[in-house]
């Protein structure tokens, strides 16, 4: 059971000090751009841009590489499928051979995903989770969440609550697992009973915890309205400039 890692890297660069809303919008625009790429050289241009931005942020490249690790197996699969199943001129003269077209298509498709994740990791490694949360909350405000029966403030509170629950639950589940193993449970042999013996105690215990939290929120008169936060965001002139530049740039590249 691996410990979840927070990917935030402390720093004081231009990217670190940028408004989180601008960063979120920029990453979204870049993602749209990345998806419109079908030529290898365009991917390289964005890869160079990524290199420059990491340099500005002063984040080491290994942090970005680490964010790729969970997806590596999946990427390999996708690359191999394109390599072997694309029609075109074969690289070797075997009955079942990779093709040049497949090599190119596979590289472009996998390269896109790699870039997507790298740019995403740039956002998370230069912004505190709390700031991203409040950035998301601000961006959610104009959306009609009222129709769903909730507000952006509540969504933000739920996000903070869930962040608070995660380490607690991880610790709790590990305790349950050890307790069940010491009572002779073998997971691999009986998948259904193995899962039940983990999931049911985990659910019961965590519900008890959630009830306590709900009770304490109720007794403190939680209403789900706007509240001031520890980190207030300020949109500086440079932030506005970057935001307009990125949005206009993306629109121009796509429609021009």
């Amino acid at each position: 059971m691996a410990e979840p890692l927070f990917s935030y890297v402390r720093g004081n660069s231009f990217l670190h000090n940028m408004d989180p809303r601008v960063k979120i919008i920029s990453v979204m625009c870049l993602s749209i751009l990345i998806f419109n790429i079908s030529v290898l050289s365009h991917l390289l241009v964005l890869a160079v841009l990524f290199g420059m931005l990491t340099n500005i942020a002063g984040v080491s490249i290994s942090v970005a590489i680490r964010s790729l690790r969970p997806m590596v197996i999946f990427f390999c699969f996708i690359f191999l499928i394109h390599l072997f199943f694309t029609d075109g001129s074969p690289i070797f003269s075997l009955p079942f051979s990779p093709t040049y077209e497949g090599l190119e298509k596979g590289t472009v498709v996998t390269g896109r995903f790699v870039l997507l994740i790298l740019f995403g990791s740039l956002l998370t490694s230069t912004t505190r989770p709390a700031l991203i949360t409040s950035g998301i909350e601000h961006l959610l405000r104009p959306l009609p969440l009222g129709k769903l029966g909730t507000t952006s403030f509540e969504v933000a509170t739920m996000m903070s609550l869930a962040i608070h629950f995660v380490p607690h639950l991880l610790w709790y589940v590990r305790q349950i697992k050890d307790a069940q193993m010491s009572r002779g449970l073998k997971y691999g042999h009986h998948p259904i009973s193995g899962m039940l013996s983990l999931a049911i105690p985990a659910l019961r215990g965590s519900m008890r915890m959630a009830d306590d939290v709900a009770l304490s929120m109720e007794s403190r008169c939680y209403q789900g309205n706007y509240r001031t936060s520890l980190f207030e965001m300020k949109m500086a002139a440079s932030d506005r400039f970057v935001c307009i530049f990125v949005v206009l740039g993306t629109a121009l590249i796509i429609y021009a």
């Binding site: 969970p70 498709v109 609550l161 869930a162 997971y187 039940l196 659910l203 965590s206 309205n225």
Partner: protein, 185 residues
């Protein structure tokens, strides 16, 4: 409330049940997040408890709060917490090859919740069918997304994104149907 007529538009007092549902929604978002870290070895592909908690969120919280709970989970991932399968995070993952499954979680929680609200039964078999529909929704979203973003044919997407997980999916459906029948919030 003193000035109830002047500020009702800003402050609509929430009933206690709503706060409880809200906390439970964040709990299930957290459980879905750690579900990715609880692996149970079975055969060549270890499977995780993630989908179990997604489907349970729908079954136990109902359509509205189940869906909200999965939206919160997705936003946590976007905010950079390593909550997605394998400890991945960021907007890139949502648009990446496995992103469809994550969007599918929201839809699945909603649909399972809806089915459980409409036809509540004590029969495990019926509940299993509802949960099965939820899993179908997850895979439908996941595979469609995979086909679109990775330029794959239907059969290729099935080979990568569905066949390896059938066994695990069936076990999970059985587990969720059992838990949802025996436990209620």
């Amino acid at each position: 409330m003193v000035n109830s007529d002047t500020n009702t538009s800003i402050t609509s007092p929430r009933p206690a049940a709503d706060i409880r549902k809200m906390v439970y929604a964040s709990l299930f978002a957290a459980l879905t997040a750690i579900g990715a870290y609880i692996t149970i070895p079975l055969g060549p592909i270890p499977f995780t408890l993630q989908v179990v908690f997604v489907l349970l969120a729908g079954a136990m919280l109902g359509s509205k709060w189940g869906a909200i709970s999965m939206i919160v989970y997705t936003l946590l991932g976007i905010a950079g917490l390593p909550v997605f399968s394998g400890g991945a995070s960021g907007i890139g993952v949502i648009l990446g090859p496995t992103g469809g499954y994550i969007i599918g979680f929201i839809a699945a929680a909603f649909i399972v919740g809806f089915l459980f609200e409409k036809n509540r039964t004590e029969k495990v078999l019926f509940n299993a069918i509802y949960v099965l529909m939820g899993s179908v929704v997850i895979y439908a979203f996941g595979l469609t997304h995979l086909m679109l973003v990775a330029d794959m044919s239907f059969m290729q997407a099935i080979t990568v994104g569905f066949l390896p997980f059938i066994g695990g999916a069936l076990v999970k459906i059985a587990v969720v149907a059992y838990i949802a029948t025996s436990y209620k919030i």
